[in-house]
Symmetry: C2
Subunit: 292 residues, 2 copies
């Protein structure tokens, strides 16, 4: 089964346990999660788990789903009127536009809780010994002081350091995806979590820079959301900081750093190939040419 | 050390790990958590843990703190303009009035994440074998389909069953406090979780009914928030359903059911006494007289 199919099936199982739920909230949860985006973070998690030996596939899937649910939660809350007031997301009305602000608020909350519930279920069998490590990794990437919630909160400060902001807002969840994949895939206690976190952080920063470049140079129909949002919302952006060409150079440097940071593992070669494919998907040649 | 001191110290430790956080979010988190209310749920958790033998105090404290943080998160989000639009909470401006809607949104999110992070940290030593059980109990009480988020979501439905709504909105967290206390305090695998959940549910319903009575009959200075909110917001209430006198009878029945449901444990007698004291605190004689 390919990674995308595994992820979608595991997401369906996680979202399927809503019998007896308030129907509108249950509908809003499904709306926020399906159809998904590229599922970049859970694919990264499963790739690293496989590269490390694939010792506990159930725990790896649980971690992958948990991280994607946290990502979906952050999109729902970031889109709300008190932040971006985004009308569209993934080519359809945002959750608060489709269901109202009250249900959008609860949808994010329910997705955060479901992330941890899913993690606990997936790592409660064979993987029980891994649960503490996985929970620390995933919660650390979501909360205070360096997770995505903290990242979003830098938008509420009078000033923020671009690197600190982006590390928390984007790189933290990539770092967690890599580290959780290793914690689930390697033999217990041999995950080299810190090394995988560094690798994931470089990748996450690369992803953010690629996103900044696309925000300026891609056409709306290539993105599923309006272009120029960062500029419009006065948000920090690598393109604003370094120019399009400088941002492209930075992206290439970050990808090279990520590849150089891959800890020794059985599947290091395959992982390297996957990353280069992914960068190509993120920033197709025609957009790169516009930047260069 | 008395329970209240243990809880406040453990809450301080949990909130203390915010160095490097965005300062306004860190301030909003502390504002939402300190000074606390009566800390009813964590006191229940510690009482049950003690009654069951007090085998893993660190895990019991972690569960108690996690449950109180989830409760605080729900207060912050329920107070927001898309729900109650409450100006005051615990005798001071609500979080969104003091810090803005954007930070109130993130404060709730950060508290939910911190709850699970705290649980993982407290149950990662001696209590590692308990973590899976505790995580299932706590996440179940927070999320879908029967936790506090689901409970709040019944307010977004065209119609809701009063018992289902209140069980999710209030009783679920009491049930979790009791069950988690047992899972942390009893020898591993001997917690009788289902029995403690029933006990906690009765208590939680009793607490909700007492709150409904106070909403109608207490004076604002006895509550720290405006009176008559349920009626004002058109929310379901035991007083609206049964009248003040009927609600008082229902409260007494629920307390008797809770006491009757206490599973066999070394400290059952002490626990019974604590509950009767607590009911007296919740609904002092002068308010009971107004209802009768």
């Amino acid at each position: 089964m390919d990674a995308m199919t595994r992820i979608e099936q595991a997401m369906q199982v996680a979202l399927g346990t809503t019998g007896g739920s308030p129907p509108r909230l249950a509908a809003a949860l499904r709306y926020a999660v399906f159809p998904g985006g590229a599922r970049v973070r859970p694919r990264l998690c499963l790739s690293v788990a496989g590269a490390c030996g694939g010792h506990d596939p159930a725990a790896a899937e649980a971690a992958a789903v948990a991280i994607e649910l946290l990502h979906c939660a952050s999109l729902v809350h970031d889109d709300m009127p008190c932040f971006d007031d985004a009308a569209m997301r993934r080519g359809k009305p945002s959750v608060h536009r489709a269901f109202g602000e009250n249900l959008a608020l609860l949808t994010g909350d329910a997705l955060i809780v479901l992330a941890f519930q899913t993690l606990g279920q997936g790592a409660s069998g064979e993987g029980a010994g891994r649960l503490g490590a996985l929970l620390a990794i995933v919660a650390g990437a979501a909360g205070m002081p360096f997770g995505i919630v903290a990242g979003q909160a830098w938008e509420c400060e009078p000033q923020a350091d671009l690197a600190v902001y982006q590390r928390a807002k984007t790189a933290a969840l990539f770092a967690a995806a890599a580290a959780a994949g290793a914690a689930a895939g390697a033999p217990v206690g041999q995950a080299m979590v810190a090394g995988w976190q560094r690798f994931g952080e470089h990748l996450g920063e690369a992803y953010q820079v690629a996103d900044d470049i696309r925000d300026v140079l891609a056409r709306p129909e290539e993105m599923g959301k309006p272009a120029g949002q960062d500029h419009h919302l006065g948000r920090p952006s690598a393109v604003a900081a370094f120019g399009a060409r400088g941002a492209l150079l930075r992206l290439k440097g970050l990808v090279a750093s990520a590849i150089g940071a891959i800890p020794p593992c059985p599947g290091a070669g395959d992982l390297r190939g996957l990353i280069l494919l992914e960068v190509q998907r993120l920033l197709p040649d025609d957009i790169s040419r516009r930047a260069a």
